[in-house]
């Protein structure tokens, strides 16, 4: 997955992900010490799989004229098989709060009902209210921790620790901690938590099945093909689908989607009414491009439980595929031979324009990475682009790492489409290159590669072989580096999955990229390949690193830190002055005081000449120079910006035009071509590039005009005229004549077309 550098820009593209990203979860065991004995009696049936007895038991409690807290719980439990009872439960909880306003447990349980129905906002409010009644109430803290953990928010750990501090025997806290440790691969720590929870569960004679499922997850993450703990869970409760669904979820977080599918299939076999497992099965089948199967499971889940936004959104997404085209391009020959091909799933409005560029870049990336990572794709690569950001966010829901621009699920890459026009802070070519690299690191290791390494290789490949010059390290990452915020390599995955400060995810991306770059530079590309081999064999980061580099992780951390210090010391030294210059520059720019912008912009460039990302001083200096009427200087400034890897589309378009006006056609062509990696849906780019290519590359020129035609440009006559010129350059006078007639049909006074027509017919 590629993180955009400008995260504040990216967040609005994923509306609602904070609330709907949670993985689907079924009705869960209440471990709290204050659960009523009457309910425990029904739980004993329920979590043993004796559904009929459990329903009778809960119905009796619901119908009795008793404590509304008990009746609400009974309704909730019945709601797991009949969703109509969920509203009933909600109503009774409301009564319960009125009757028992100082009961922290009641508010917490009501909050958990909201969490169950995917309403995190209401859930959080109730947990907070419970804590305002009893600040030490562990179940409320666990509730908050769970909400945060579902969003992969680093504050989750704080809540869990506080819960355990207040109540060391909180089973819920221990189990949540275990899940969180499993997600980041801290298997030994997870085992400690699970074992402690089991002790407490057995002591209190509570259902052990969830703990058994976590034990199974542990075994599987340790490389076991099977685990006896699943059988133990099913022995306790033959219809406990979560015996499979809980390990399946851990597989998803560790990107082992095929294993996850296998386990979710078992989960729904064991418990066909387990709607959450069905949803997760559907979502993961979608990640494997098994669309019809996905739809069936999602639809079944939706009919069982209609509250889950992920289920609903995934169904809507699949329905939207009727407006997408799917096309297979046969495999190209890679240096290693063979090639399984490329499948594109594109919105019908974008297919004609984007296809040639996507196929070219994907094939080039396959050739590059096959060579560099000694792996040839064994299945077709599938690339999906989504023009509607909300559709893409459905694809990434439930995954750690906010602000994603692209995501890879094995052989399937999904990303946002480029924006129409020149509104691009999103370099689609680089994003796709990044995602393509993920295919190699994932598939070469059967998805056993740790997150940091896969991201690190992708970032490193962006910098070294990708379509954009230079390393693009945001200023706040440089600041974090100066403050020594990099993590030890052994714990780097936590920076991605459980960030503990704002922007730690991006910092981790950059750290991972710098690590891979360092390894390749110091030890050769082979070292990266060797690490991949070890990951495939099931080794962890420390073992793989030692095997590939011959040094311990601790030694590596020392040497890497020294390397960073040596390389970036001048940058760190200039950072404060740079920020001051930037601040002054931006203030003058906001006041349109362009004369005053020049000084700080020039200083800023001198201090960090490689900085071309958001707020790049090159752009401000060029604007100031233009305002002063110094076009030559502005062109030189934008040229420097471009050579450093700057890609702001309006700036590049202006630069290309200036180069053209100065007679530098070859340079202008290069800039136009690079501009397509940012703004392929801007008609002017295709038109002007095509015009430039007419004499030297008429085939490419025609391609540009065909892309333009697919965009239904306003100036149709102009388009036909361009097509005519391209055909003529290719020697096809008949096609040229025909296009001219179409142009003049629209615009009979079109001078250039008239002249060309006379040339052809005479």
């Amino acid at each position: 997955m590629r993180q955009g550098a400008q995260i504040h820009f990216l967040l609005p593209l994923i509306p609602g992900i904070a609330l709907v990203a949670a993985p689907a979860r079924a009705y869960e065991i209440d471990y709290s010490a204050d659960r009523a004995a009457e309910l425990r009696a029904c739980d004993a049936h329920y979590f043993r799989g004796r559904r009929a007895e459990a329903e009778n038991c809960f119905e009796a409690l619901l119908e009795a004229d008793g404590d509304p807290r008990i009746r609400a719980e009974a309704a909730w439990a019945l709601g797991d098989s009949n969703k109509a009872f969920i509203e009933t439960a909600n109503g009774i909880f409301r009564e319960a709060i009125v009757s028992y306003p100082e009961d922290a447990a009641a508010r917490t349980r009501w909050g958990l009902l909201f969490a169950y129905t995917r309403n995190a906002t209401e859930a959080k409010t109730l947990f907070d209210e419970a804590l305002s009644i009893d600040a030490d109430y562990a179940p409320a803290l666990v509730g908050l921790a769970d909400l945060a953990a579902e969003q992969f928010d680093g504050i989750a750990r704080g809540f869990v620790d506080e819960a355990l501090s207040n109540d060391p025997e909180s089973i819920g806290a221990q189990l949540l901690l275990a899940r969180m440790e499993l997600e980041v691969g801290n298997l030994d720590s997870a085992e400690v938590s699970i074992d402690r929870a089991l002790e407490l569960i057995e002591a209190r004679n509570l259902p052990p099945v969830e703990a058994y499922a976590l034990k199974a997850s542990l075994d599987l993450l340790r490389g076991a093909l099977e685990s006896p703990w699943i059988a133990r869970a099913l022995e306790y409760n033959p219809s406990y689908g979560d015996a499979y669904a809980i390990p399946a979820y851990i597989f998803v977080i560790t990107r082992r989607y095929r294993e996850a599918i296998d386990f979710y299939e078992h989960a729904v076999e064991v418990d066909p009414r387990n709607w959450s497992a069905r949803t997760e099965l559907g979502v993961n089948l979608l990640r494997e491009n098994r669309i019809d199967e996905a739809y069936d499971h999602l639809e079944t889940s939706y009919n069982l439980f209609g509250y889950d936004a992920q289920t609903r959104n995934s169904l809507i997404l699949i329905d939207s595929y009727e407006h997408f085209t799917v096309e297979l391009f046969d495999g190209m020959t890679t240096p290693r031979g063979g090639g399984a091909g490329v499948i594109l799933r594109l919105h019908e409005d974008e297919t004609a324009v984007l296809t040639p560029y996507l196929v070219e870049l994907i094939n080039r990336s396959i050739a590059t990475f096959s060579e560099r990572y000694a792996f040839t794709p064994e299945e077709p690569v599938i690339a999906e682009l989504y023009p509607v950001a909300a559709d893409f966010s459905v694809r990434t829901a439930g995954l750690p790492g906010i602000g994603l621009l692209g995501v890879t699920f094995g052989y399937l890459v999904a990303m946002n489409s480029p924006r129409p026009g020149l509104d691009g802070e999103f370099h689609w070519g680089t994003t796709l290159w990044h995602e393509m690299a993920h295919i190699f690191t994932l598939e070469a290791t059967d998805h056993l590669v740790p997150r940091w390494f896969s991201e690190g290789v992708s970032v490193y490949e962006e910098w070294s072989t990708g379509p954009l010059n230079g390393r693009h390290i945001p200023s706040h990452v440089l600041q974090a580096m100066a403050e020594d915020k990099f993590l030890p390599i052994a714990g780097l995955d936590e920076g991605f999955i459980r960030p503990t400060y704002e922007n730690q995810v991006i910092v981790s991306y950059m750290q991972a990229g710098l690590i891979c770059e360092y390894i390749a530079t110091q030890h050769g590309q082979q070292a990266l390949r060797t690490m991949l081999e070890h990951f495939r064999a099931g080794d962890d980061s420390v073992t793989a690193l030692e095997a590939a580099l011959g040094i311990t992780a601790a030694e590596f951390d020392e040497r890497f830190a020294a390397h960073i210090e040596a390389e970036f010391a001048p940058t760190f030294a200039n950072l404060d002055a740079w920020m001051e210059a930037q601040s002054a520059m931006l203030q003058h720019a906001n006041e349109s005081n362009w004369t005053e912008v020049r000084g700080p912009a020039e200083s800023s460039i001198a201090l960090l000449p490689f900085y071309v990302d958001e707020g790049s001083p090159y752009l401000y200096l060029a604007r100031a120079q233009r305002e002063a009427g110094d076009t030559a200087a502005a062109r030189a400034t934008l040229t420097a910006y471009y050579e450093q890897g700057g890609y702001a589309p309006e700036a590049l378009l202006q630069l290309a035009r200036w180069h053209l006006a100065a007679g530098e056609a070859a340079t202008a062509t290069r800039v136009f071509k690079d501009l397509l990696q940012v703004a392929p849906l801007e008609a002017a780019v295709h038109a002007e590039l095509g015009d430039l290519l007419l004499e030297t590359e008429p085939v490419e020129a025609l391609r540009e005009f065909e892309a333009l035609a697919a965009m239904s440009p306003h100036d149709e006559a102009g388009l036909k005229y361009r097509m005519a010129r391209a055909h003529l350059a290719l020697g096809d006078r008949d096609k040229a004549r025909e296009q001219l007639l179409y142009a003049l049909e629209i615009a009979p006074n079109f001078r250039e077309a008239q002249q060309l027509l006379l040339e052809i017919v005479r």
Partner: protein, 298 residues
């Protein structure tokens, strides 16, 4: 047909012979901005439209009221002056830029000082002697006047489809762009009809919302049969020609009409269409070649 009318009118303008010819006049009103961001935007659009107008007709037939000077009194004075100068055969193009409001009953154009409501503005329009009028109301809520300002011989363009679209509009900027854009000149005749400019501005507005990933808060509208034939902007300067060239131009116009007529028979002619089209277009191109050889480019 409308296009023929436009061509005949253009021809009359180009030849500059005979009795006083029908002239095009502009009244451009850039209303109150309020917020500095809007004030700057409105001023820029007003200025760009004025530039296009002056390029088309020169300085003397363009009246611009902007910012502090855009008062009700100034507006009424401008109308009074136009009423004295315009003849029935003349044409008037009015562009309104700025904020408009609609309270469910009345539309108001925000000016410096007292505003003017839709009915009062319509009353001013009624007094204008020019038989052909183009009113482009690029303000917010302008859709409220689309029907009430409609009349025979008058094309009305509004930035919004109703009075309920209240956000500051983007349409004004794109209308200003259209008036000077070769891309808007779909038939490549060197001038823009109101319809051409509207199509371009409307499309640009839609695309700007799509590019921003936002739902459109405005939907422009156009009414009135004369929009197709109402030349609202020239992209190049007009020049006077000799009688010999005038005759060639008349022949060119005749050929254009034949092309237009042939287009209507496209389906009926089938495979015979393109050869016939080519014959006309080649002759038209040859006539244009002679015009270009004899006269400066126009």
């Amino acid at each position: 047909m409308r296009r023929g009318t436009c061509l005949a009118l253009a021809g009359a303008l180009a030849f500059g012979a005979g009795p006083a010819r029908a002239e095009l006049y502009y009244l451009i009103v850039g209303g109150l901005g309020g917020d500095p961001v809007y004030a700057e935007s409105f001023a820029e659009s007003t200025s760009a439209m004025a530039e296009a107008a002056r390029r088309t007709v020169g300085d003397t037939r363009v009246t611009v009221l902007s910012g502090e000077g855009a008062t009700r009194e100034a507006l009424e004075d401008a109308f009074a002056s136009l009423n004295r100068r315009l003849a029935a055969a003349d044409r008037l193009a009015i562009f309104l830029i700025g904020h408009g409001t609609y309270d469910g009953t009345d539309y108001k154009l925000n000016l410096t000082g007292p505003d003017i409501d839709g009915a009062a503005f319509a009353a001013l329009l009624e007094q204008v002697p020019a038989r052909n009028q183009l009113i482009v109301n690029a303000t917010s809520a302008s859709g409220a006047v689309l029907e009430t300002w409609a009349d025979d011989g008058r094309a009305v363009i509004t930035a919004t489809r109703s009075g309920r679209e209240r956000n500051a509009t983007r349409f004004a900027e794109y209308w200003a762009n259209a008036l000077s854009s070769a891309d808007a000149d779909v038939n490549k005749n060197g001038s823009l009809s109101a319809q051409e400019a509207y199509d371009y501005a409307s499309r640009s507005t839609v695309e700007s919302f799509e590019a921003d990933g936002q739902l459109a808060t405005e939907h422009s509208e156009i009414s009135g049969d004369i929009a197709q034939g109402f030349e609202v902007s020239r992209l190049t300067a007009r020049v006077t020609v000799s009688p010999a060239v005038a005759a060639l131009k008349e022949r060119a116009e005749d050929l254009e009409e034949q092309v237009a007529a042939l287009r209507l028979r496209r389906e009926e002619l089938g495979d015979a269409y393109l050869p016939q089209l080519q014959a006309l277009l080649v002759e038209l191109a040859e006539v244009q070649e002679q015009i270009d050889a004899a006269a400066p480019t126009q």
